[in-house]
């Protein structure tokens, strides 16, 4: 089995498996975030649960971090290896004739997503860690006794620059997913009579989820009233 993951095929399966995990994570992340649009109270409760449940915090969260780091590291390693497989490049190469821009530029879409993620971590996640584990306040409450999550979320999206940054980040995510979703299925060997349907679902997922995140960001930017 260890030999498997050393092979080229094994590595791409590993990429696919981490991708599936990340895609599932994004889906649940979206599911929770969209609550903020429809039901702030529920959003607060779920957020508090996710932020304080030990299983989530100390088991799922490290797995997630590992998944993210693995996907990026492996992606970069493979990209370098793949580039070295052609020492002299073509004078003229008509890539558009046979493949999509997205499929050829996963490293760039992925790279921008990484930059976004770093910003996102600094912006959201590190302050969270600070409150919970450095300051030690795990109550999840504001001074007024209400949950802080919805309030903070809305506040974050007041500056227009952050909204634009998010939009750009999610456009890259969409580009990445437009190829990545189906590519992951192909990598684990799922190419059969269901492929057509999977491709349809993949496109829908790749467009709708990032679009949803963008809508959430814009919604809060426009609806913040304090």
């Amino acid at each position: 089995m260890s030999g498997f993951f050393k092979s080229s095929v094994g590595r791409k399966v590993a990429m696919a498996l981490s991708a599936f995990f990340l895609m599932f994570f994004i889906l649940q992340h979206f599911a929770i975030n969209i609550l903020s649009v429809f039901n702030p109270d529920l959003f607060n409760e779920v957020s508090h649960f996710m932020g304080t449940n030990p299983l989530v915090q100390f088991v799922l969260q490290p797995i997630l971090i590992f998944g993210v780091v693995f996907h990026f590291t492996m992606g970069f390693i493979l990209e370098l290896k793949n580039r070295s497989a052609r020492s002299i490049s073509y004078a003229v190469n008509n890539g558009n004739a046979n493949s999509s821009w997205m499929s050829r530029n996963m490293i760039y879409s992925g790279g921008f997503i990484l930059i976004f993620l770093v910003i996102h971590f600094i912006d959201f996640w590190i302050p969270e860690l600070n409150i919970k584990y450095v300051i030690g306040d795990t109550s999840g409450l504001l001074a007024d006794g209400n949950y802080r999550y919805f309030e903070e979320l809305q506040h974050k999206f007041v500056p227009i620059w952050r909204v634009i940054l998010y939009c750009i980040g999610f456009v890259f995510l969409a580009l990445h997913l437009l190829h990545g979703f189906n590519s992951a299925f192909q990598s684990i060997g799922a190419n059969n009579k269901y492929t057509k349907s999977i491709k349809g679902i993949g496109k829908a997922y790749a467009v709708l989820i990032p679009l949803g995140f963008i809508i959430i960001a814009c919604f809060h930017h426009l609806t913040y009233t304090h």
């Binding site: 089995m1 030999g3 498997f4 092979s7 080229s8 095929v9 094994g10 590595r11 791409k12 399966v13 493979l78 290896k81 793949n82 580039r83 070295s84 497989a85 052609r86 020492s87 002299i88 490049s89 073509y90 004078a91 003229v92 190469n93 008509n94 890539g95 004739a97 046979n98 493949s99 999509s100 499929s103 050829r104 996963m106 190829h179 189906n182 590519s183 192909q186 990598s187 684990i188 060997g189 799922a190 190419n191 059969n192």
Partner: protein
Amino acid sequence: MNLTLQIWRQKNAKTKGKIVEYPIKDISPDMSFLEMLDVLNSQLITLGEEPVAFDHDCREGICGSCSLYINGEAHGPDRRVTTCQLHMRKFKDGDTIFIEPFRAKAFPVIKDLIVDRSAFDRIQHAGGFISVNTSGNTQDGNAIPISKHDADTAMDAATCIGCGACVATCKNSSAMLFVGAKVSQYALLPQGQVEATNRVENMVAQMDLEGFGNCTNTGACEIECPKGISLENIARMNRELMKASLK
């Protein structure tokens, strides 16, 4: 037709190459691309220059010898053809045509447009066979019925001509379409089952050893493959290797 050719010239594997421009006149649209190069070469010979070396043999699209990266595409802009079947009617009078060798670290240039594709052979040596001796006592050809669907799918995979367009086209110089096709052909036939585990492991290991890149599923290989070998074969190879690794 009058054309401007930009052709990669390289004396041998050790020297550096460069693109050289050759104008060419009075090309008939009915010529094949290689016949157009024949015309150029006969002109070069008359001028006392060295002709452009390129691989070719059957000139009917089956031997897989001819290669050439023409205007940024393996076997040129037409679909489902090899370079010998590409006709000049696909180009316009006055066009500039870039002609480069198939490029991959695993396919080193021998001369001009000729590359060494023996890496493909070595992958086949590693497992591209069914271990059966020639005896005359094998069981009757009809002893094991094979569903038409499986036989046809195996045939579709087996039509690969080993030209290397998949590698040349792939942004990663991956050979997975080639290897996937061979693995698939045997995986789909009952005769190939016995050695399936070893075959896929050995062939993939050899492929990696040869320095081909990894597949990122861009699908370019399938589009540029002169025989239209399907991406399904790569998926099948992935499955086969996963299956093998669990054994």
